[in-house]
């Protein structure tokens, strides 16, 4: 095995939490609002693709212990098609990471470092992540464990001070047009929830396998809860104008004004965002590098970390010419692509594995 490190079930859960929530808080409220309007806060509850992805990852790992999704492909659909499918999965994973890096750098440049070139922001983030990824899965896991309390504290630090300014009337009428608007608004969120399939790459390294199911389900619940809270706070404060901001949650942080003393707390939001995005990029980076090393049957994944980092920076430049085009792609074609690769393909693999075992089982009995 290439990676000798071990992580605990809770570390994996924390990694998954930070691999999904940061970007989900940032970009989704504006996109979801277009569909869901005042039911914005109901949309995260419809986390179907998250449940499916978690179920597929856990069942597949129970069927092929110690293997991740890319390695399973070969066992399930045969050598050559398996290699092809695994390669496609890895390429898509890198593409998605490019999008994440681009989202991160566009946000940092759009909101804070107005004069800095895009390449510098994304390049320095990729360099930092590459160093963490080179150190192995244990280090990434510990980063997640270290950053999660800070992430949650800072998140609550933004939510609590604005509670007096929230207008409950903004959320009325609840489900005024039935369930449809909130369900449609949940569409773009499905792309985020389905990212839970990356758990498949960390399951083989978990030391206490018995606690995995519990920890990953708690994480799914926590993600839903965090998104409900952040969407609810955004909606109750901003009301009808939620959709007209690119980063509604950032406006919340800017709005805070405690005793005329604590103002401009968007620096807190920046801290949340950098910590979260760092872990998120690391997780996807690690999956790509480890998967590629296993795919090519290399003895070590470390030598290819930096070249892959360079490619990731390139892809992040390539995905879209500007932020508007990027958000448009995320809310439409990219969501479909994510659902195909991260939900449909694993479920198909699961069905195939199940069917194959049934057929072989019957054949063996005869």
């Amino acid at each position: 095995m290439i990676e000798k490190g071990k992580i605990s079930a809770s570390q994996m859960g924390k990694m998954m939490y930070l691999a999904i929530t940061p970007t989900a808080i940032l970009t989704t409220p504006a996109i979801t609002y277009q569909f869901a309007k005042q039911d914005l806060w109901i949309s995260p509850i419809w986390a179907f693709s998250g449940l499916i992805a978690v179920y597929a990852a856990l069942r597949l790992h129970a069927r092929f212990p110690g293997r991740n999704l890319v390695q399973m492909c070969e066992c399930i659909v045969g050598r050559l098609p398996g290699k092809l499918l695994g390669g496609l999965f890895l390429l898509f994973n890198m593409y998605l990471n490019g999008i994440i890096i681009r989202e991160y750098s566009e946000f940092v440049i759009g909101a804070f470092l107005l004069q800095t070139p895009l390449t510098v922001v994304s390049g320095s983030m990729v360099l930092a992540s590459a160093m963490a990824v080179r150190s192995g899965v244990e280090i990434v896991g510990r980063f997640a464990e270290l950053f999660l309390p800070a992430f949650i504290t800072l998140f609550l630090l933004i939510i609590f001070p604005i509670i007096p300014d929230l207008h409950l009337s903004n959320m009325l009428p609840i489900m005024g047009e039935g369930m449809m608007p909130s369900l449609m608004g949940a569409f773009v969120l499905q792309a985020w929830f389905s990212e839970l399939i990356t758990a498949s790459f960390f399951l083989p390294f978990v030391a206490d396998q018995k606690k995995v199911t519990k920890s990953i389900l708690i994480v799914l619940l926590m993600i839903v809860l965090t998104l409900i809270v952040s969407n609810l706070a955004t909606l109750l404060l901003l009301g009808n104008v939620t959709g007209s901001y690119t980063y509604p949650f950032l406006i919340l942080a800017r709005y805070i004004n405690l005793f005329e003393f604590f103002t401009h707390l968007e620096a807190i939001f920046m801290a949340i965002w950098v910590l979260g995005a760092f872990v998120k990029i690391c997780v996807f980076f690690y999956v790509a590098v480890l998967g590629a090393a296993q795919w090519l049957k290399l003895s070590d994944y470390r030598p290819i970390v930096f070249p892959f980092g360079f490619l990731l920076t390139l892809i992040s430049m390539w995905v879209a010419p500007n932020l508007q085009k990027l958000n448009d792609a995320i809310s439409k074609s990219v969501s479909f692509a994510v659902l195909t690769m991260f939900v449909a393909v694993p479920v198909l693999l699961l069905c195939l594995a199940w069917g194959k075992r049934r057929l072989w089982g019957i054949a063996a009995k005869k």
């Binding site: 277009q34 608007p181 360079f310 430049m317």
Partner: protein, 82 residues
């Protein structure tokens, strides 16, 4: 300006190779080939994108593949008044 970017790319790739190459031992032939291939591919793509930044990428591929579904979603959004 464009040639300056090319120089920058070459410098980054050169530094990467200088750092990583001595760490790979003689028997790690496969790793060396992979490293060289990925670095070369990255370099070529980077220089290409410097000169032709508008080259259609994976995003355009997904736009093309999921056109009918995207169209369906767009119609739904239009019905709700954007």
């Amino acid at each position: 300006m464009k040639w300056a970017s090319v120089l920058g790319i070459a410098a980054v790739l050169g530094l990467m190779t200088l750092y990583e190459w001595p760490k790979m031992k003689g028997n790690m032939k496969k790793e060396k080939i992979t490293f060289a291939a990925v670095t070369l591919a990255g370099g070529i793509l980077a220089v290409w994108l410097v000169f032709y930044p508008g080259t259609p990428g994976p995003t355009q591929l997904f736009d093309f593949l999921y056109k009918p579904l995207v169209h369906y979603i767009e119609n739904l959004t239009a019905e709700r008044g954007g």
